[in-house]
């Protein structure tokens, strides 16, 4: 009984058909991890003395903060670090919408679409950004990236400033009362 493994492309859950612009080397070996990354991961694991598995989510956050998205290598590395199998980590990555399996833009624009912002013009604002940044159609996760990989635009849920709708985030910065005029100014700022 042979156990030769021929990987059928049909079984690949991460479809390789789309080339994501702006992707850094997706095959970063563990040796190429930034300095202090592993120490940081080890420190996070010490917070969960009962079960290392509980460190799965914090490590995924750490990985995404460091690399921008969670590559198959990231899944391998984290599962190995926690004594788990890769599928255990993949289950988490595919469940939480905040984890990306592909790189987003250098400048990430997140537009709120929860009730107040939806009423306050969030959808129109998002459309405006999409046109201005010339991003294409959003992928299955709602993320639209410009062909040069510079911008990505996506909807997010409530950013907790409902009185000043519509609100957005650009990278880690928060902006309220964003009119189309203001949006154009912000885009210049982040050029």
């Amino acid at each position: 009984m042979s156990t030769n493994r021929v990987v059928d492309p049909a079984t690949q859950t991460v479809s390789p058909e789309k080339v994501y612009p702006g992707a850094v080397d997706p095959h970063h070996p563990a040796a190429a991890l930034p300095k202090g990354f592993e120490a940081q991961a080890d420190e996070i694991i010490t917070h969960y003395p009962v079960s290392k598995r509980s460190a799965s989510l914090p490590l995924l956050h750490l990985w995404q903060e460091t690399f921008g998205y969670i590559s198959p290598e990231g899944i391998e590395w984290i599962s190995h670090k926690l004594g788990l199998q890769p599928i255990n980590i993949l289950e988490l990555v595919t469940f939480y919408p905040m984890f990306r399996q592909h790189p987003a833009g250098k400048i990430q624009i997140r537009v709120c679409r929860t009730l107040s912002c939806a009423l306050g013009g969030g959808y129109e604002l998002c459309e405006h950004f999409r046109e201005k940044c010339q991003v294409g159609e959003p992928d299955t996760h709602g993320l639209a990236i410009s062909p040069d990989g510079k911008y990505s635009v996506e909807f997010v849920e409530c950013l907790a400033a409902c009185g000043t709708a519509p609100v957005i985030m650009i990278n880690d910065d928060f902006y309220e009362d964003v009119t189309h005029q203001r949006a154009n100014e912000l885009l210049l700022k982040y050029k």
Binding site: Q12, P72, I87, E91
Partner: protein, 571 residues
């Protein structure tokens, strides 16, 4: 074998608890959940995700039941009803039975209007996205979704939207195909792979309304126990490539038997129709294989329907071999054997023989000259995997040892030397290929002046034989074998022997009669009876007394015999 979980069998010394099931107070050992308590009370709680040998996940919600605890008064003492039994305080909402461990005084309602509604509701949810492809689904006929739909579900669907689309015909392993649309996300396969085989490659990705069972990209569900996931899949999501689209399961005749792939002797069901075996599935026996079997053993039956199967008894006439009726072949073989002194004859028996065949062969050996006739088996060593597979790949090594036919392969060299020097002139070979696992060169086999081979498939040894005696496969005969732990188990006949081939015990019986006269034994039951009369280990047993689950044998003599032949062999 040891299961990681055994929800259905608490320890033998577990204290008894009083539990009320559908209004009747009964006693059960501590450690059972509501599903198992109901099962022991002859009630049935339908379930999908719960499996007694796997961890509890509680996600299918099909086993919802009403649960109650004893009503307590102000002093925390149970309030007794008029009949002296505790009064029950019922929980306001249904609970899942699989995760409800029973405690003293608890009560379960498996039938009630609330539970009926619950089951209807769960069935409706499960069927929302399930394809209605039962007519082309392999699971049809043994599908829990089908069965419970009829028994507990609704007669029509209220769902008008489009069903969720998911991957179809996903090749997740060498022997398994996955249809994700049929999957009801019970997670049995995931838990089996993780807990039983420690091959954690399956999981749910994209959890939510598109939850998809998948193998990790680049990995495969290829372990040697993968086909058990097909057995425990309650629906047709996981199907066996080997059995897929071959036969509707309701046409299969299921014969209780054992696997002859190694010395473990996993209990099996042979699924056959019209003289063809279509599949082998494990049959529960907690003493041997629990509910599992390895893929190697399960699929290792196709050789019995090989196109080149030996179906005609043949004898060498001149330079060629011609079909010869049994009635001529056996007397002719016997005549030639009788003319030889014992030391000129040798026997290569097999660890694949049943006890009955080994017994008859030991009698033939005695007729031919007893211990002077050298005899041994061809040992087959594999690697034990710590789960079910045994390192001994012969299914009945202990049985042939019991009749003194085996010296663990140590006499084989002596036999070959005898053949090479021309001292041994006649060789009887049973279900072994000397040029194969025994490793004899063809030149040695050619040296034999009188070679009789009992076999199923043609091989270099049968090609060179003067007498070819086509025998029966494991699925074509009754008989008993002793597994590696000393358990006596029974093979049953699922299909007929093809063509003019003959059941092995009948060949041996006829040869024995031709050599030394008949003794009124005709059936396999009579052979067993005669064997039991002279074999202390089988004292008081008959073939039917072995039962479907086999018996632990009590041996008066050490079982593993190496040098001296068995005293039983010389009756």
């Amino acid at each position: 074998m040891k299961n990681p979980f055994d929800h259905d069998s608490p320890p033998a010394d577990a204290p008894l608890l009083n539990v009320q099931v559908d209004g009747v107070w009964m006693q059960f050992p501590k450690g059972l959940n509501a599903v198992e308590v109901a099962r022991r009370a002859q009630k049935f709680i339908p379930h999908y995700c719960y499996h007694p040998k796997l961890s509890i996940s509680g996600n299918c919600r099909m086993c919802l039941v009403e649960l109650g605890t004893p009503k307590l008064d102000a002093d925390r003492k149970p309030v007794l009803a008029a009949d002296g039994k505790p009064e029950i305080s019922w929980m306001p909402r249904p609970q899942i039975g699989c995760a409800a461990l029973m405690a003293e005084g608890m009560a379960v309602r498996t039938i009630s209007p609330v539970i009926d509604e619950c089951r209807k509701g769960v069935m409706e949810f499960l069927l929302i996205n399930h394809p209605l492809d039962c007519p082309i689904c392999d699971q049809a006929g043994e599908c829990k979704l089908q069965e419970y739909s009829v028994q507990y579900g609704n007669d029509h669907s209220r769902f008008t939207d489009d069903k969720v689309k998911k991957p179809k015909r996903v090749d997740i392993g060498e022997r398994i195909v996955l249809d994700d649309e049929r999957c009801i996300m019970c997670s049995r396969c995931i838990r089996f792979s993780k807990e039983m085989v420690h091959d954690d490659v399956l999981g749910f990705i994209d959890r939510g309304s598109h939850t998809t069972l998948a193998v990790h990209p680049g990995k495969r569900l290829d372990n040697n126990y993968s086909l058990n996931t097909v057995d425990i899949c309650p629906v047709g999501a996981l199907t066996s490539k080997d059995f897929r689209f071959q036969m509707r399961v309701w046409f299969l005749k299921e014969t209780k038997s054992i696997c002859t792939g190694c010395a473990t002797g996993c209990n099996t069901l042979i699924g056959s129709r019209e003289q063809l075996v279509y599949r082998q599935t494990p049959r529960e026996n907690e003493e041997v294989n629990s509910q599992w079997m390895c893929d190697q053993g399960r699929l290792g039956f196709h050789y019995i329907h090989h196109a080149d199967r030996l179906v005609e008894p043949m004898a060498k006439i001149g330079q060629g071999k011609l079909p010869t009726p049994w009635s001529e072949l056996i007397p002719s073989l016997a005549t030639q054997l009788r003319g030889l002194s014992p030391d000129k004859i040798a026997i290569v028996a097999s660890g694949r023989l049943t006890n009955e065949e080994a017994f008859l062969l030991s009698q033939i050996r005695r007729t031919l000259g007893g211990d002077d006739v050298l005899c041994d088996i061809v040992p087959r060593r594999g690697e034990a995997d710590g789960i079910l597979r045994s390192a001994d790949l012969n299914p009945n090594t202990r049985g042939v040892e019991l009749f003194g036919l085996s010296n663990g392969g140590k006499t084989l060299g002596q036999i070959r030397h005898g053949v090479d020097t021309g001292h041994i002139e006649a060789l009887l070979v049973f279900h072994e290929n000397l040029a194969g696992e025994a490793g004899w060169p063809v030149s040695s086999i050619q040296n034999v002046k009188l070679l009789a081979v009992q076999s199923i498939l043609p091989c270099p040894t049968s090609e060179l034989a003067d007498f070819v005696l086509p025998g029966a496969s494991f699925a074509e005969k009754r008989g008993s074998m002793i597994n590696g732990t000393g358990r006596l188990q029974r093979l049953n006949k699922a299909i007929s022997v093809p063509g003019n081939a003959m059941d092995d015990f009948q060949i041996l019986l006829q040869l024995k009669a031709a050599l030394g006269g008949g003794n009124g034994i005709h059936t396999i039951e009579e052979v067993f009876k005669a064997m039991a009369e002279v074999t202390p280990a089988f004292a008081g047993l008959s073939l039917s007394k072995i039962g479907d689950l086999g018996l632990e044998l009590k041996f008066n003599t050490p079982l593993i015999r190496t040098a001296s032949p068995s005293p039983h062999a010389t009756i």
